[in-house]
Amino acid sequence: MKKRHVTLNLFILIVLTDIGESIAQLFMKTGLNHIGISSVTFSNLQEFAIKSATSYFIWLGILVYIVNFFIWITILSKIDLSVAFPVGSTSYIFVPILAMIFLHESIGPMRWVGIILIVAGIHFVSKSTHIEEGGKAK
């Protein structure tokens, strides 16, 4: 099995899937708000399905999910799952920071500690592939 490193391009792709995931969820949530059905039961399941299927936002959400799927599959074809998956935790970093910049939410000390730990973790996981290659022969 080939061992490839987390290159900058791959890292950008991974971040892109994280952003895509958030955007898709945002579309889905907006779509569901527009539909205006607060809870789904067996009695209104049909109405819910029809209204969902006619919502542009729901379809946009699905479209972003499909694009995301292919980006993720492409990433997996290049690097190990146990590397790609943890590196994909960047949303835990970007969401609070974007919320701070655009929504003026404050980030407490605990959260900063968490963010720093995640950044360090991503760094270590990304570098772990170098050890394998430099170290023992496979």
């Binding site: 993720w72 074809s77 146990s82 943890p86 730990l117 360090a120 973790g121 270590f124």
Partner: protein
């Protein structure tokens, strides 16, 4: 609380199985040359035609449904710390089913991420 924990764990295992199926598929197919549109279209065609991809998609869909149930049952401040377990699960299952190596750096990095998520979720 225990029920919720079990529920999230089940969701994670389904999701993880899906990822393993994805990875097994692309390991077999190989990776596309991203500078060549032809190479990438061929890759996409092979992916869509692979039964294992659809298995994976099914597993991940089931995982999402269980997730939605878990989210309805509990507040998010509890769900995310428990959910960070998926990184450890992935490390172990990728080693068992995909022969991916676990070295010290990968282990430390993964644990740092799990710890970091717990901090972010608790704050």
């Amino acid at each position: 609380m225990t029920k919720l924990l079990v529920l999230i764990l089940i969701a994670e295992l389904w999701g993880n199985a899906g990822q393993i199926f994805y990875k097994k598929t692309v390991n077999k197919i190989g990776s596309p040359n991203l500078r060549s549109l032809h190479s990438y279209t061929r890759f996409v065609k092979k992916v869509v035609a692979a039964p294992m991809i659809w298995f994976g998609l099914g597993f991940i869909t089931i995982s999402l449904v269980i997730w939605l149930v878990a989210l309805a049952l509990a507040d998010l401040s509890l769900v995310f710390p428990i959910d960070s377990m998926q990184y450890i699960i992935t490390l172990i299952t990728a080693h068992i089913f995909l022969n991916e190596k676990i070295n010290k750096m990968k282990l430390i990095g993964t644990l740092l991420i799990v710890g970091g998520i717990i901090f972010v979720a608790m704050s």
